[in-house]
């Protein structure tokens, strides 16, 4: 037999190599008895029909060992064949061997600049890849298989339709069947790495196959980018973001989608960090819980979720038995939280000390202590409320829970987890803000289930957002019902209200006292009035009169200028003329007539001695000159005396450690169409302090009275001392600025705050005071029966007893106090005592009031932020002058600074360093140039931004910079403000020159006051100092001391 015989047989094609058969039987046989067996192999020949035409392909057989995970079975290892062929259609118009490839159908265009090969890591961005603008995409078979296994048939179908669609320039290349592109998976390599290797090999082959005419870009994740970055010419690897920025930088839609997807992925990653085993523990049965709580094994408290890091939550336990302070237990992570929501009352079991963790909240950067940590074992009381959510759009597959075919709604409040809603409801309320109620949360589901109970309209407009804000805090703005309104006494033009002459037990002060009220301009409810006069004994009589709400009167109209008598509850003290010591105090019901209704501004002008303001005061309009003068003098004397008395009492409180912490309040100016005109920070003048001091005095004395009479049922107000650890930021910033703040007691704190005054920059002191405010705990109403007497102390005011008495029109607690006072002064105690609330009821009522008050304060704060955002929303941040303002740095974070903008009263952070390592770069004149790669060093005192070229810029604490304010729109949550530092120089606001000076500190004030005092005539000639204040005096002395007097000798 010779080879010539071969000619008789039909032309067969040999496969030249023996297939590399790993681990198969024939392989073993081949090795063992190769000589004997000499297996003959052949390939399938070609013919027409189902077989390939042409030269014929040599099939090469390899094997793959695959582990098949079948359901209800243990995983099987199977061996599968894999045939490779030399020609696989490349589907490109640039094919260099078209007859070999036999491309049919859709081809990749030749005119594009590059071909893109996506990797399995870009599946998250699939919707961007679906855009027709992306041309020249080669989908490798490896990648489509990965898509199928990772994302399911839905994505596969999408891809399939993409590939069929002629308008999309993308093709499939079966790289795994090509003999040059396929590498067998080596032992011990991960599937991921193997895939990457194959993709790279395929791209390389493709590049060569197209005659090296067109570059191939593989779009992969960061690791592959690093590994394969510079391996060969023509094939480049980059991340998806880079790719978009380089080639499709003007495709807005793609960039927006990309950002949004990144955000969602980040959030998913955070959530999945802890959700490795989604099985939550079941709650303990109630009897075990109760037993555990009683025995002390478990503790109970309310759960608070940290707003900045959602993963962290803590339970505040009020330990009334053993220690005096409440303590907190940290619940770190999603699993230990065991489906409890913010505001629930939970039972917690503490971990042993070895498992305690550190807090990682954004505000506690330097805080590295280990705190008690635990996990939730049961919920004793759920926080029953409904939540406002926004629904993601239908196309947003990231929010679509594949397993259960339901949508995940994103709540307005950051602290609540996403809630699963059925698809029908989600689609119906797609673009609205909806209110949902949570139904249940199973142990095996990551999110709770809920359903929609109402809507709030589409988000975005001011009205809607206000409504959602109010709803979030459970504040109802329902008008009072008819029945309620009917209970009020009638006071209309036809039937004017007048004093009931049967009221004999009221002291009539209308004739004897000069009573006036001082309130903000445009105030409608006037509930407090002041009076002061000299008694015949020489002593002074100070009176504070509060509207008697048991006889509620409608606010007065401006038309009616007739003498209006008002019922009031009065507190009248008799003071020593000179020392202002309180000799006697009287409480009682009275009738008053307010002679003057002054505004704060008018009263301040009178106090300053500017008598020309009388032109604006109504009551002075129709008077003759002589009477006007007398009256004016009387009024001015009264106001000045009051101011004097007030400052005396303030000083007294100061000795006990009263704190002067002015909050930054913003008032919003609206025009007729309810558009926001401006945001103006409120100023605190001396007159405000005066009125406040009188009110504080009244409150304090009423507190004493009702406690005396009802030691177990009085409603008082206390302010517990703040926790020391909250002062850390204040101390750090103050130290960096060169001031020392002593927080050991309220007096020490007050003194050190007064001393922390920078003469060149009064804002520093304000800032420090503001930071001190943040550390304060909340003042609480409480019932005296449930607290020990030493806990009655009010830290902020420096008083041993305090209550709220002076604003019954706007606070319910004051009404309770009024009733208590009336009962206390009544002669017949037995009748009234029955109407008072018991200690237990009072305690519950106090809890409720405290909670509502907290909600109202929070709501107010958020509403301020809302208005701020709206103010800046329609202003072009780059061009509008109002978006640029002066800001002061008051703290340093890892990559940002914290700024306070006095003009608008905004506090926020501005970045100094971005995530990819670029820092702010400023030019020589201090103007911002841009972001360049560099590094950031920071300490408590300063932060240095050094660019890679070596230039640096330093920011020191309390430095003034120019800031640009813009709004960062959020789809699911309230908008937030974004601050950027524009320049290192302070911003000189042109309007700043017109706004009135900010009020000086108390010491300054005192100095001013004393220097304003009339120096008696005889001493004037001895006046040596030319200047006015103590400071200049000291300076002069210093200069004198240094002066060379030798010449004068």
């Amino acid at each position: 037999m010779s080879d010539t015989d071969a000619g008789r047989w039909p032309r067969l094609i040999h496969s030249e190599e023996e297939a590399a058969t790993a681990g198969s039987v024939s392989g073993a046989l081949a090795e063992g008895r190769a000589s004997n067996l000499g297996l003959v192999s052949a390939c399938s020949p070609s013919s027409s029909g189902y077989w390939r035409t042409g030269e014929g392909n040599m099939l090469e057989k390899t094997e793959r060992v695959i582990t098949v995970n079948a359901v209800y079975r243990c995983p099987l290892r199977v061996v599968r064949e894999h045939y490779l062929r030399p020609c696989v259609p490349c589907n490109s118009a640039l094919c260099s061997q078209p007859e070999y490839c036999c491309n049919v159908g859709k081809l990749l265009p030749a005119e594009v600049t590059h071909y893109m090969v996506p990797d399995s890591s870009v599946f998250d961005y699939f919707e961007i890849l679906e855009m027709p603008e992306l041309k020249g995409v080669i989908w490798l078979q490896t990648v489509t298989d990965a898509l199928h296994s990772k994302r399911g048939w839905r994505y596969c179908n999408k891809l399939r339709s993409l590939l069929k669609d002629p308008s999309h320039e993308c093709v499939l290349f079966a790289n795994e069947y090509h003999v040059s592109c396929y590498h067998a998976r080596e032992k011990q390599t991960l599937k991921k790495d193997w895939e990457k290797r194959i993709i790279y090999a395929a791209a390389l082959w493709y590049y060569k196959h197209c005659g090296e005419k067109i570059p191939i870009i593989i779009v992969a994740d960061e690791d592959s980018t690093k590994r394969y970055k510079v391996k060969s010419k023509g094939v480049y690897v980059m991340t998806f973001k880079e790719y978009l920025n380089k080639f499709y930088s003007d495709l807005e839609a793609a960039h927006n989608s990309c950002d949004f997807i990144d955000e969602a992925l980040y959030e998913e990653k955070l959530e999945s960090l802890e959700a490795s085993g989604i099985n939550y523990n079941k709650y303990l049965p109630p009897d075990i819980l109760e037993a555990g709580l009683k025995s002390g094994r478990y503790v109970e408290g309310i759960l608070y979720v940290n707003k900045h890091t959602k993963m962290e939550a803590f339970v505040r336990v009020q330990d009334t038995d053993q220690s005096e302070e409440d303590y907190e237990i940290l619940i770190d992570g999603i699993n230990p939280r065991n489906r409890a929501l913010h505001g629930d009352r939970v039972a917690v079991k503490m971990f042993p000390e070895s498992l305690w963790k550190r807090r990682m909240g954004a505000d506690h950067e330097g805080y590295s202590e280990y705190v008690p940590t635990g996990h939730v074992v049961g919920i004793t009381q759920k926080h029953k409320r409904d939540y406002i959510v926004t629904f993601p759009s239908k196309e947003d597959i990231l929010y679509y829970s594949r397993k259960t075919k339901k949508y995940l709604a994103v709540p307005w409040d950051y602290r609540i987890p996403r809630i699963r809603i059925s698809r029908k409801q989600a689609e119906k309320y797609q673009f609205c803000r909806a209110i949902i109620h949570i139904d249940s949360w199973d142990t095996d589901s990551r999110y709770p289930d809920g359903h929609v109970v109402g809507t709030l309209g589409t988000g975005g407009d001011l009205e809607g957002e206000m409504k959602s804000l109010l709803m979030e805090h459970d504040i109802s703005e329902r008008p009072f019902s008819e029945a309620q309104m009917g209970e009020l006494p009638v006071n209309t033009a036809e039937k004017p209200w007048s004093v009931d002459h049967e009221e004999q037990d009221r002291k009539d002060l209308r004739k004897t006292h000069l009573v006036f009220t001082i309130d903000p301009k445009g105030c409608e409810d006037v509930d407090d009035a002041l009076s002061v006069r000299t008694l015949s004994s020489g002593n002074l009589e100070l009176g504070v009169h509060i509207a008697d709400v048991t006889y509620f009167v409608k606010p007065k109209s401006h038309l009616d200028k007739e003498a209006r008598a008002r019922y009031a509850m009065s507190v009248i003290w008799e003071l020593d003329m000179t020392t202002y010591e309180i000799k006697k105090v009287w409480y009682g019901r009275s009738i008053i007539h307010s002679t003057y209704q002054l505004s704060y501004e008018a009263a301040q002008e009178l106090l300053d001695g500017n008598l020309s303001i009388t032109g604006n005061i109504e009551e002075f309009q129709d008077m003759e000159e002589k009477e006007k003068e007398d009256r004016l003098q009387e009024l001015t004397w009264a106001i000045e005396k009051l101011a004097d008395i007030a400052s005396h009492f303030r000083a007294q409180r100061g000795l006990d450690g009263a704190l002067d912490l002015d909050g930054i309040e913003i008032s919003v100016l609206l025009d007729e169409e309810k558009n926001i005109l401006d945001l103006v920070p409120r100023q605190q003048r001396r007159i405000h302090r005066m009125v406040a001091e009188c009110m504080i005095l009244a409150n304090h004395w009423v507190a004493r009275k009702i406690y005396e009479s009802f030691p177990r049922q009085a409603l008082l107000r206390r302010h517990p001392p703040p926790r020391q650890n909250l002062f850390s930021e204040l101390k750090q910033s103050a130290k960096a600025g060169g001031f020392h703040i002593d927080t050991s007691s309220n007096r020490a704190l007050a003194l050190s705050l007064d001393n922390a005054y920078d003469v060149s920059d009064p804002m520093v002191n304000k800032l420090l005071r503001n930071m001190a405010t943040l550390a304060m705990s909340n003042a609480l109403y409480f019932s005296t029966g449930s607290c020990r007497e030493r806990e009655f102390h009010h830290y902020g005011l420096g008083l041993d007893k305090y209550t709220h008495f002076t604003s019954p029109i706007r606070r319910y607690a004051d009404i309770i106090v009024h009733r208590l006072l009336i009962a206390a002064i009544a002669e017949d105690k037995t009748k009234t005592e029955l109407n008072l609330l018991s200690d237990r009821c009072l305690e519950e009522l106090c809890d409720h009031i405290n909670e509502r008050h907290r909600a109202a304060k929070l709501c107010q704060r958020q509403a301020t932020e809302l208005f701020q955002c709206h103010f800046f929303r329609d202003k072009d941040a780059d061009r509008d002058e109002r978006c640029v303002a002066d800001g002061i740095i008051y703290a340093f974070r890892d990559t940002a600074v914290q700024l306070y903008i006095p003009r608008y009263g905004i506090k926020g952070t501005a970045n100094l360093k971005t995530k990819d390592g670029c820092v702010l770069h400023f030019g020589a004149n201090g103007e911002k140039i841009g972001w360049v790669p560099g590094a950031l060093w920071r300490s408590h005192k300063q932060a240095d931004c050094v660019t890679s070229s070596g230039q640096g810029v330093t920011f020191r604490i309390f430095e003034h910079v120019t800031v640009k304010i813009s709004v960062q729109a959020q789809q699911y949550h309230p908008n937030s403000l974004r601050l950027e530092i524009l320049s290192k120089k302070p911003y000189l606001d042109p309007e700043a020159r017109h706004t009135p000076k900010s009020s000086p500190s108390p010491t300054r004030e005192l100095v001013e006051e004393n220097s304003k005092e009339n120096i008696p005539e005889e001493y004037r000639q001895f006046q040596q100092t030319k200047g006015e204040s103590l400071y200049t005096l000291l300076e002069e002395m210093k200069n004198l001391a240094i002066q060379d007097i030798s010449n004068n000798l």
């Binding site: 037999m1 015989d5 047989w9 039909p10 067969l12 496969s15 297939a19 198969s24 039987v25 024939s26 067996l37 000499g38 297996l39 003959v40 192999s41 052949a42 390939c43 399938s44 020949p45 013919s47 029909g49 189902y50 077989w51 390939r52 099939l59 057989k61 094997e63 098949v68 079948a70 099987l76 290892r77 199977v78 061996v79 599968r80 064949e81 894999h82 045939y83 490779l84 062929r85 259609p89 199928h148 296994s149 048939w153 399939r160 590939l163 499939l172 079966a174 795994e176 069947y177």
Partner: protein, 245 residues
């Protein structure tokens, strides 16, 4: 396995073959010295070993002997390690019996039994690894073994399986394709005359498609024939070299 596409849009099957392509076939004759004829075939990953004894006296009961022709006795056995899960197969179970019967029918048609009356020809086939198309591999192995034993046959018996997926006929099914539940048939062919020795199908197939599938199977069987022919010639060549031609 669910989710695996048997035929992709581009026309590739699970293992990368086209619709009408055969798997790699390797075969060897004369692997057992002690048997009269033996052969080993690998069709893809399906490996079958066939051993032929005969023609010899009828063993067992003489009553079974046929006066005018030989008795063909086929036995099929599948090793316990032949499937992905090790499974103990008792010798006389239904599947083995059925396959044995089918083999017998096939070879009775092909072997010239008239030449050996009152004798018995035993064909034992064992499947060492079952990856689809076991019947075809058995038939092909048995053919070679019979040829190795020198028993005259009318023609080669070449077998191949074929299936029908997405309007296309696939030939030489692997285990994945067989397990998918699509209609499949096994065809044993005498290639020279085109006569069908055995045609077996155990699924529902619309009669319009039958022609197509049958044609594909026939084509594939002819392909197998070419291969087997080559194997035989190679074997003879080697043997003659050894004998010193």
């Amino acid at each position: 396995m669910a989710g695996l596409e048997l035929l992709s849009d581009q026309g590739y099957r699970v293992d990368g073959r086209r619709a009408g392509e055969l798997r790699k076939i390797q075969a060897r004759m004369g692997v057992f010295a002690q048997a009269d004829g033996s052969a080993y075939i690998e069709q893809g990953n399906t490996k079958a070993l066939a051993v032929v004894y005969g023609p010899h006296e009828i063993r067992g009961s003489r009553s079974r002997a046929l006066p005018d022709r030989a008795l063909v006795n086929c036995q099929y056995s599948s090793a316990t390690f032949s499937t992905a899960e090790r499974k103990r197969r008792p010798h006389g179970d239904r599947k083995s019996c059925e396959l044995g019967l089918q083999l017998r029918q096939t070879f009775e048609a092909a072997i010239l039994t008239q030449l050996h009356p009152r004798s018995q020809i035993d064909i034992y086939v064992q499947v060492l690894q079952a990856d689809g198309g076991t019947y075809a591999a058995c038939v092909n192995a048995a053919t070679l073994a019979v040829l190795d034993a020198g028993i005259p046959m009318r023609d080669f018996v070449c077998a191949c399986s074929a299936g029908f997926v997405d309007g296309t006929a696939l030939t030489d099914l692997s285990h994945v394709e067989e397990a998918s539940g699509s209609p499949q048939l096994a065809l044993a062919l005498l290639p020279a005359s085109g006569q069908i020795a055995l045609l077996e199908m155990d699924a529902r197939l619309h009669e319009d498609h039958l022609e197509q599938v049958l044609e594909a199977a026939a084509q594939a069987a002819r392909g197998v024939h070419t291969l087997l022919d080559r194997v035989v010639r190679q074997h003879v060549r080697e043997a003659s070299i050894l004998l010193g031609d």
